[in-house]
Amino acid sequence: MIINLPRNEVRFIGDIYNILITGVGGQGIVLMGNILREYGMRFPLIKNVVGTETRGVSQREGSVLATARYLIDSKIYSLDQNFETEELISPLIPINDAHIVMGLEPLETIRNLRYISERTVVIMNTHRNYPRNVILKSEKTNKYPSIGYIIDILDQIARRTVSMDFNELSEAKFDNAIYSNIILLGVGVKEFREIFNKKLMISVLQDFFGENSINLDAFELGYNLVNF
């Protein structure tokens, strides 16, 4: 399955690069945050890395969010020479400022609309994880919006939205849905080749999972999934 999309000219806005990962506890969001920050540590063009993650309810079906923010070497990418490493210390992404949103669950993706703007590429897993209260139809609970509605909103606001059921894909290829996050990471790495070096990302993944992990195959699958 290959999706062809037009390549966009707009790349870096400012010299800070913001990644947001969002989903439900148990989907490996904290792990993805760690992988992306570790990558930032090793990539020579990235001068500084910060990030954060929500904690506390992550094991209990709650909403989870992680961020990774890169400060790109200003000598190469920025006209403004005055900002130094110290400039990037806030772990939170300001409103509208995410460059890439990796949404592992549709409801959680739309919940973080705050960070999505015309500069954002959204890669979204359309596999729904229904909150318990939605299944139970408790009176106070809102309805789970349709995927069509979510994609409509993202299309209006984001620069581009890549959406597919990564759980289904992961299950079809690897007989287990847990690789959906790494497949999604593969798509993201392909999308931003300026900042993501494939070889380096693979070596980071090898350090996290070991050299023969299925996660590496999952990454490769994601990388070759989308053609820009």
Binding site: V50, G51, E61, F83, L92, R132, I147, I178
Partner: protein, 692 residues
């Protein structure tokens, strides 16, 4: 980062770690002899790292104290022998430790001593947002606040030095955002730990009674006053931001900013977005404030306006206002703004800071604000219509069958006898009983306040209102015993359910005084004293509780539990039901560890599946509510919305990856009236499966 790597001896190495890891590393590098903690978000992990360090090193001791007061007092004891100590807990813990906190600074410290406290302005995982900096208005304890992950590590070292220089304790203020944020840190050298200290008797100093306390107070206030005047210390912790390589500060608008902690990063980000370079004073030492240097800052840049950016209470703002009104030499008008615009509630964000600065800065950046306004309008329309995700007990949790059978018993009793049950909540996993489908919780205030508040209420409520108080083992030992004893003393009309799961589970399964020693994997090294466990049952048997009013039960037998509740709840007097069952999550983690170590240990595998013939009576979903049971939509399609989630469009299934079949004995199978849940056994040796 792996925990062992955190304590490697590799000075100069750059690593990517979290704020909490940086605190642990800082404590390790600084030659701290003793640290004590009661677990609490945001600082729980620091204790976990230090517990690991304590078990793997000879010189350093870490203690999970029974509560924060004991933790603080232990650290005072260590410090009085001349060794370094760090007490740490969440902001609410300081209330418990407030008693010694107000007195011991009069005597001062010998070895450096820090009180590391994690605040929670956004109430992300607490019951209130109190601003602990205000404590220093009467304790006079100096406050330092790091603003980056690197400073989290460095301020531990500098704080201990400062503490030893002035012989007073130092308070380290930090918020949950910084504890959980990640950044690059350069590791430092490791200082050796002195193993034993000596207490030098000095009655005048350590016995704070009457005239001695008064004279010690005088000395202590003098010391803090001296610290406030020390220019070197001021510039060690506080920095004036130098913009760029040219070190130019554009002060055309005559607006300066004072800030501290993580707010500094929001200010920097806001200035970048607004493309302005105002003079910024970043405070690392926020109490006491050096009046002269604050005035110097305002005078150097010829400020007309001073903006103070801080979360929660106007602490720095108040101190600054006082300084400029009363002490500043120059009598010019300096406007100070802060909480007249910034909210006192919640965390700050870059966006709020942008608006704040825009309000007072003479620049045209309306498009920025317009963008934010526009977006916030969209968010206002969309976000309130989204369903929230309520946290619930983990899949396989031992509390679920307890609340399931309690609910059944309560429904029967209410119907038969017309009782209305009131649920006294406390702090711990059992707080989640408030969520769907149980909804059995009437209040949560603080540690121990479940039984505490019930103590009074039970004495005055109508006869048909019956009180049930929930409390966990760790909370019971923390501050629950006193209200329990009070209830037994008065033979107050209530049922107390003690959830004895052997760990402090909500904060990440830390050990506590009641944790059976046999469950703790790594025992302390031989050189240290063997620890004892406190047997909660034996304790209860011996504090005046009548025998028939103390019932001990396991968790997973629903029928038996319901009987226990039906029998116990209507009886008069104080009844205690202890549910003895280990935290399922911790048990699973340990089981997996043993299996990984020894392949032969792999037992037969168990699976639970829901048959296709399931008639969706909803007992498992609506009453049990295990998150391992979920729905699978049969009809696919992009336009499928919640309206289409009707029984004919989905089926129930048990999520194999979250189900805990080796721990939970199939509670869902027990509650399924139509026997639609099947248990499958696979023996690894013969690969044959048998069904039940």
């Amino acid at each position: 980062m792996k925990i062992a790597e955190l304590f490697q001896d590799s000075p100069g190495k750059k690593v990517l770690i979290s704020g909490n890891e940086a605190f642990a590393r800082g404590i390790f590098e600084s030659g701290v002899r003793f640290a004590a903690n009661y677990p609490g978000t945001p600082l729980s992990e620091v204790g976990d790292y230090l517990n690991f360090l304590s078990k793997n090193s000879d010189g350093f001791t870490f203690d999970y104290s029974v509560n924060e007061k004991v933790a603080l007092e232990s650290c005072i004891g260590v410090s009085w022998t001349g060794l370094r100590s760090v007490a740490m807990f969440k902001h609410l813990g300081l209330n418990v430790a407030a008693d010694p906190l107000h007195t011991f600074p009069y005597s001062g410290v010998d070895g450096g001593m820090l009180i590391l406290c994690g605040g929670d302005p956004g109430i992300l995982s607490s019951t209130n947002a109190q601003d602990n900096r205000l404590y220093s208005l009467h304790t006079k304890i100096p406050i330092i606040e790091p603003s980056t992950v690197q400073e989290c590590k460095d301020f531990i070292r500098e704080g201990l030095r400062l503490s030893e220089l002035y012989k007073i304790p130092i308070y380290v203020h930090v918020t949950s955002r910084l504890c959980h944020s990640h950044g690059i840190v350069t590791l430092g050298k490791i200082n050796m730990i002195e193993n034993t200290g000596t207490f030098k008797k000095d009655p005048d100093r350590y016995i704070n009674t009457l005239n001695r306390a008064l004279s010690n107070q005088t000395k202590y206030f003098q010391i803090v006053g001296e610290l406030a005047k020390n220019k070197k210390i001021f510039y060690l912790f506080n920095k004036v931001k130098e913009w760029g390589k040219k070190k130019e500060i554009e002060d055309i608008s005559e607006v300066g900013i004072i800030t501290s902690g993580l707010c500094y990063s929001y200010v920097i980000q806001a200035c970048r977005k607004l493309e302005i370079k105002p003079p910024i004073l970043k405070l690392g030492l926020i109490f006491p404030i050096n009046r002269d240097e604050i005035c110097t800052f305002a005078n150097t840049y010829n400020l007309k306006k001073l903006l103070v950016v801080e979360e929660l209470e106007p602490f720095i703002e108040t101190v600054s206002k006082r300084t400029f009104c009363n002490y500043c030499d120059s009598k010019r008008d300096l406007e100070i703004h802060g909480k007249d615009f910034l909210p006192k509630i919640g965390e700050l964000t870059t966006d709020i800071v942008i608006r704040f600065i825009m309000n007072h800065y003479n620049i045209e950046r309306e498009h920025l604000i317009e963008n934010i306004d526009q977006k916030e309008q969209i968010l206002k329309e969309i976000l309130p219509s989204l369903p929230i995700r309520e946290p619930t007990f983990c899949a396989g949790c031992q509390y679920r069958p307890v609340f399931y059978s309690l609910k059944k018993a309560v429904e029967k009793l209410s119907e038969k006898k017309g009782y209305e049950f009131i649920y006294a909540g406390d702090i711990g996993c059992y707080t989640l009983s408030e969520s769907y489908p149980y909804q059995m919780l009437d209040w949560v205030v603080c540690m121990g306040a479940g039984i505490g508040i019930a103590n009074g209420m039970a004495q005055v409520v109508n006869e048909h209102q019956k009180l049930i108080a929930f409390i966990g083992d760790s909370t019971l030992l923390h501050t629950g015993l006193q209200p329990l004893i009070n209830a037994i003393k008065n033979n107050t009309e209530m049922t107390i359910i003690i959830f004895n799961n052997y760990w402090t589970s909500m904060t990440g399964q830390q050990e506590h005084a009641g944790t059976p020693r046999s469950l703790i994997e790594v025992q302390d090294s031989a050189s240290k004293r063997e620890k004892k466990e406190i047997n909660i049952i034996a304790l209860l048997e011996n504090i005046g509780l009548e025998k028939e009013n103390l019932i001990v039960s396991r968790a997973y037998n629903i029928e038996q539990l319901e009987k226990v509740f039906l029998n116990t709840l209507p009886r008069p007097g104080t009844k205690v039901i202890v549910i003895n069952e280990e935290c399922a999550l911790e048990k699973k983690r340990r089981q997996k560890l043993y299996e990984d170590q020894d392949a032969d240990l792999q037992k037969e595998q168990v699976y639970y599946t829901i048959l296709d013939s399931c008639i969706k009576c909803n007992e498992c979903i609506e009453y049990l509510g295990c998150p391992a049971i979920n729905i699978e939509i049969l009809e696919k399609g992009e336009n499928l919305s919640d309206d289409n989630i009707i029984p004919k469009n989905y089926k129930y299934f048990i999520n194999e990856s979250s189900c805990m079949p080796n721990i939970c004995p199939g509670v869902c199978k027990t509650v399924c009236k139509d026997n639609m849940i099947k248990k499958t056994l696979i023996n690894p040796n013969d690969n044959k499966s048998s069904k039940e």
